[in-house]
Symmetry: D3
Subunit: 245 residues, 6 copies
C-alpha cells in the first residue's frame, strides 16, 4: 500500500479504518568505496515497504535526504542542516496530522537523522499537537544487532557496515558489479562525536567506521532485512494497541 499509488479517495477510505502511516527516511551519503550513496534510504525504504505490505499499512514516499554533514568530505554526499531538517520533518508530520493520521512512524536508515527528527517531534508537541510519533532506526534494533554480531563478529563497525551493504547488495545486485572487494585494515580509534566533515575525514580516511564492508553478501542482506522486518512488525502491533491520548 504505497501512498504514492493511491488517490485521495482511497486515503479517505483508509482513514476510516486506520490512523497509522509509515515514512521511510534515509540519506544520500558516502558509504566507503564498497557501498553506495543511497544505502540509508534504500534499506529504510525496502524494510518499510515490506512491513507495510505485511500489515496493510500505508507507506509514504521515502525521504531520500537527511542530516549527513559529517560525510561531506566525500563527494556525492548531500546534507540538510540540522535546523532545516527539524523544519522539514515538522512540516511532513503536520501534514499527516492534519488529515487525521494519529500514529506516524518513521523507519530510519541513518544515525545522523535521529536527533533532528526527535527535536522535530518535540517541536510538534511544543506546538500542542496530539498523536503518537515514533522513530524506529532498524540498525539499532537489539535483535538486528545480535544477528549482525553472529555473522560479522566484531567487524560490523558503525558506518558502511557489512550489514547495510549486504542489504543493498541483496536489493540492487547490479549496483555492485564494479565495486571493490579487497580487504583493508580495520583501525579502532578513540574519537569523539559529532565530528565535522574535516574531523571525520581525518579520523576515517576512506569513510568506513571500523567496518569490513567486503564481508557483505546478498544472503546476509536477505537474512538481516527479514529480521528487521519481523521485529518492526511486532513493534507496530504494540503501537496499534496503544491508546492515543
Amino acid at each position: 500500500m504505497l501512498l504514492e499509488n493511491m488517490s485521495y479517495v482511497e486515503v479517505e477510505a483508509y482513514l476510516v479504518e486506520k490512523d497509522i502511516v509509515i515514512i521511510p527516511i534515509g540519506s544520500c551519503e558516502q558509504h566507503s568505496p564498497y557501498g553506495i550513496l543511497g544505502t540509508d534510504f534504500i534499506t529504510a525504504e525496502a524494510i518499510a515497504r515490506e512491513v507495510g505490505k505485511r500489515m496493510d499499512i500505508v507507506v509514504a514516499p521515502t525521504i531520500n535526504y537527511g542530516m549527513s554533514q559529517h560525510h561531506m568530505g566525500f563527494k556525492g554526499t548531500v546534507t540538510l542542516s540540522p535546523e532545516t531538517m527539524v523544519m522539514f520533518v515538522k512540516d511532513i508530520i503536520n501534514s499527516f496530522l492534519e488529515h487525521g493520521f494519529k500514529r506516524i512512524i518513521f523507519i530510519n536508515g541513518h544515525g545522523g537523522n535521529i536527533e533532528p527528527i526527535k527535536t522535530a517531534f518535540h517541536q510538534i508537541k511544543f506546538e500542542g499537537k496530539s498523536g503518537l510519533l515514533e522513530l524506529i532506526s532498524w540498525f539499532l534494533l537489539p535483535e538486528v544487532q545480535e544477528i549482525e554480531r553472529d555473522i560479522f563478529e566484531d567487524k560490523n563497525g558503525y558506518h558502511a557496515t557489512p550489514s547495510e551493504v549486504s542489504i543493498t547488495k541483496f536489493l540492487r545486485p547490479d549496483a555492485f558489479r564494479n565495486k571493490p572487494s579487497e580487504k583493508k585494515k580495520i583501525n579502532r580509534s578513540q574519537v569523539y562525536f559529532p565530528l565535522s566533515r574535516d574531523e571525520f575525514r581525518q579520523a576515517y580516511p576512506d569513510g568506513r567506521m571500523e567496518s569490513a564492508p567486503w564481508l557483505a553478501k546478498e544472503k546476509y542482506g536477505k537474512l538481516i532485512m527479514e529480521e528487521a522486518v519481523r521485529v518492526i512488525v511486532s513493534r507496530l502491533r504494540e503501537i496499534l494497541k496503544t491508546k492515543i491520548l
Copy 2:
C-alpha cells in the same frame, strides 16, 4: 547513472570529467480521484532518469515532497511550507556546489514548487555562490504543451491533467487497476491564485482543475514523456556548452 548506486570514489571520477547533476523534484499531492498522489515525483523522476541515461549525466535521488499547501484539503497530500522549502532546496544545492558540481538542474513535476525553488536560487546567489542553477518544469515546455493540445485539445486543464495521468499510467499500470474512469463535467471558472486549501476545495471540489483525466492512456503517456525527454536533452546540450562565470 543514479547517484544512489554510486560510491563516492565513482563520483570523484565523474567530477574529473563533468560538473552537471540532475535532481528530480515533485510532490505528494492529490491528483483527483483519477490520478495518484505520487504523480508529480513519479513523472519527474522517470523523465530525469531517462535524460540522465541518454546523456551519461548523474541523477540524484528524487525529492518526493514539495510545496502543495493548496491541495491540503484532500487526504494524503503532504506539504512543506514555502519557507521550509527554500531552506531545504538551498541545502541540497549547497551540498552539490561544495563538491564541485557547477551545473545543477532540477527537473520538476509540480507547479507549486517553482517559486520556492527560484527563491532558493536567489538566496544561494545572495550568499555569493557561483554556478548555473536551472529549473526545468517538464509540463511547461512549449513542445510538450503542443503535443498535449494535439491529443487532449482543450481538456488538459491545469491539474490532474490527462497528460500527467497518462505518464503515470504508462509507468505504473498496476496502480490504476481500481481507479475510476467515468466522465465528469469540466467547469471553467474564473479564480485567482494562489489559493488556500479551503479556497481550492471550494473552487475545485474534486481536485481537478479544468481537466479530463479520464482521457488518459498509457500510449499517450509514452508519447508525451518521450517528447519531454527529447526537449530536455536538447536543452541540457545547450547548458553543457554554457560558460560558467
Copy 3:
C-alpha cells in the same frame, strides 16, 4: 487616494465600500550609468498612483527596497535577502488582511522581486488566510512590451531599458541633467540566471542588460506609462468583479 494622506477614520469609511488596495513596490538598484537608482520604485509608484486616481482605489506607501542581490556589484544598490523579503511582504499583506482588505494588488517595477513576492503569497495561503493576492509587473504586460518593441525595436533589452529610463525621465527630468547620452555597443551574450553579484558584473560590465538606454525620451515615457496604466486599470476592473472565495 493615498493611504499616507488618510486618517484611520477615512480608511474605515473606505472599507465599507471597497476591499481593494494597491501597493507599489520597486527596488533601489543600479540602472547603468544612464539610469537612476530609484527607477524601479519611481515607475511603479507613478503607475500605481495614476491607476488609483482613475479608479478611486487606495494606494499604500511605496515599498522602496527589494531583492536586488545581482546588482550589488554596483555602488548604491541596496538589497534584501530573498528570505527577508518573503517575511517583509508577508507582514505587509497580513496587516491589510487583518483590516478587512480582500484584494491586495502589488504593482511591481522590478523582476528580482517576483519570486520572493510570490513565495510570500504561498506562505500566506499556507497559513490559511483567504483573499485575492495579485502581483502585476508593469514591464511584463504584453501590451506594454508591444509598444516597447514598436519604439525601441530590439534595443529595449532586460535591464536599464530605454523604456524604464524614459518613464523616469518623464517623471523626473531634473535628475537627468548630468547623465550621459553617448551610444555604446550592445552585446548579446548567452548567460544563465540567476547570477550572483560577481557573475552579473562579469556578464554585464556597465550594468546594462542588452539595452540602449541612450534612446530614452520623455515623450516615450509618457506614452509607455499611459499604456501601462490603461492595461492595469482594465485588469483591476476584472479583479473587482472576481468573487472572493
Copy 4:
C-alpha cells in the same frame, strides 16, 4: 542629493569623498482622526532630505513601513513584526557597508522602530562588521522637545502630537482639507508599555496618547522642523569628525 536620482557612477564618485548616508525611516500607522497615516515617514523624510541638502550628504529612499503592532486596532495601520524588522534593517545596513559606506544614519519618525533598529545594530556588530551606526529620532531631541513645550505646553502628548501633525500640515496642507479640528478631552492615564493592539485601543480609544492634535498649525510645523534640522545638522557634524575604529 537623493540616492534615488543618482546613477551608480555618481555614487562611486561620492564614495571617494564621503562615507556617510542618511536613511529616513517611519511607519504607516494611525495618527488619530486628526493626523494622517503617513505622518512618521513624511516627517522623517522631509527632515532627512533637508539635512542632506544642507550638508551635501546622500539621502537613501525612505523606509515607509515600521513596527506599529500596537496601532493595528485602527484601520490602515501596517506593521512589520519586530523579528522581520530586525532582518530588514540588517539587510539595508549590510548593503551600504558592502559598498564602503562607514557612517549609516537612520533619521527616524516613529518610537516603535527604536528597539528593533537597535537590535539590528547589535546583530550587525555581533556578526563582526565595523562602521558607525546611528539612530536619530527627531522627536526625542531635547531641543525639539523644548520648543514643543514652549508651543503646546503639556498638550503635546506621546502620539498624534500637535507637533508632528503641524509638520505634516506644513508639508502637505491639502491632506488636511477634510480633517476634523474640534477639541476633545485629554485623558491622562497610567498605562504600561508595550501594549498589544487590543490593550492600546482600550487605553486610547481614538488613537491619541494624551495629545491635542487640534492645536496643530502649519507655522508651528515649519518652526519645529527647522529646529530638528538644525540640531541634526550639528550632530552630523560631530559624527563626521568621529574616527571610524
Copy 5:
C-alpha cells in the same frame, strides 16, 4: 520565595493571590581585570531576590547569559546573538503568561540586554498577548546613579564600574582575594555605539569604560544595593496597583 524551591502545587496557591513574577537577568562577560565575569547576573540576582523577599513575590531562576557580543574580545565572555536572545526571552515570557502570570518583571544587570529584551516584549505584543511586561535595569535608576555620583564622582564610568564591582565584592568577598587593586588612567574617548568586539577592544584596551573599579569597596556595594532594592520595591508597589488591560 524562590520559584526553584517551590513545587507546582505551591505555585498554584500563589497564583490564586498574585500574578507577578520577577526574573533576574544578567550576562557572563568581562568586567576588566578588577571585576568578575558573573558581575551582571550576580548583582541582578541579589537585588531581585532581596526585593522578592521583602514583597513576598516569586523570583524565577536567574538568566545567567545575555547579549555581550562587544565583550567577546576578552576571554570568558559568553554571548547570545541578539536574534537568539529575542527568541529566548519570548519563550520565557510565554511560559509565565500561559500559567496566568500577568505582571512579568525583568530585573536586569546588563546594558546590552535592554534592546533585545524590549524587542522580545514587542514581539509578544505583536502576537497579541496581554499582560504587563516590565524591564528594570538597576544601574539606570536615577536614585542609584545619584548615589554613585556621590561616592565615585565622575569615576563610575560605564562598564566595570566601581559601583557594580562594590556590590559583587560585598556579595562574594572571596572572589576578590587575588584581584588587582592598583590605579590606572581613565581615558575619556569619543566613541560611537554599538561596537563590535574588535572596535570595543580598540577603544577600551583593558575592558573598562571610563571607570575606576579600584575604588570599589564592600560597604559601598551594600549601600548601593540597598538603594536599588528600595527604589525597585517602590516601583513594584506602583506596578501592583496598575490595572491589567
Copy 6:
C-alpha cells in the same frame, strides 16, 4: 573554579594550560508535589561544580532553563521551544570555541534537553567548527542507575524520581520543610513519547512518572551525587586524554 568569579585575565591564564570547560544545564519544571521546580539545574550545578573542584576545571554559569514543554500543564514550569534551545546552546558553544576552549562539556540534569543539545552539536559541526562537544546526563550514567536500583528498587521511575529529590533534599533541606511525604499509588502505564502538555497531564496526573519521590532521603542524595561525581571525573579524565582533531 567558577567562571563567574574569575576575571578575563584569569581565564587567559587558564587557557594557556587547559582547554576544557564544564557547563551545567537543567530546567525549571514541575517535579510533582514532592519535588522542587529547580531540581534539574540544582542537581546538575552541584555535580558539575564538585567535578570542577576536584579536577581544577572551570565551571561556567548554569543554564537554568531548558526544553520542558511536556511539563507545561503544571504551574511554574518554564520552557524554551526546541528550536530556540538549539540556537541558544549553539551561541553558548560558539562563544567558548571562539576563546580557544576545545573541550566543551555539558553536565545535564534533564532528559528533555538531550535532543535539542545534540541537534545544536550537529549544527555547530555542520558549520564546520572543530572541537570536542560532550553531553553527560548524570541520571543516565549506568553506575548511577545501578545505585538507584539498589536503593529504590523498581520505584525510581522516570521523573520526580526519589533519586533526584534526594539530591535536592541533601543540597537544600530547607526547601523541603513544607513538602508532602505521604505515599501514593504508582501506576505503570504504556505511553508513547514525546507527549504534549495535555497528553502528559492525562498520562501522569500529578506529574510523577512511575516514581516514589516520598522515598527520598538526604543521605541517599549524598550517596548518589557522590557516585555521579566519581563517574564523571573518570569520564573527564578520558576526555582530557583524547586528541582534538
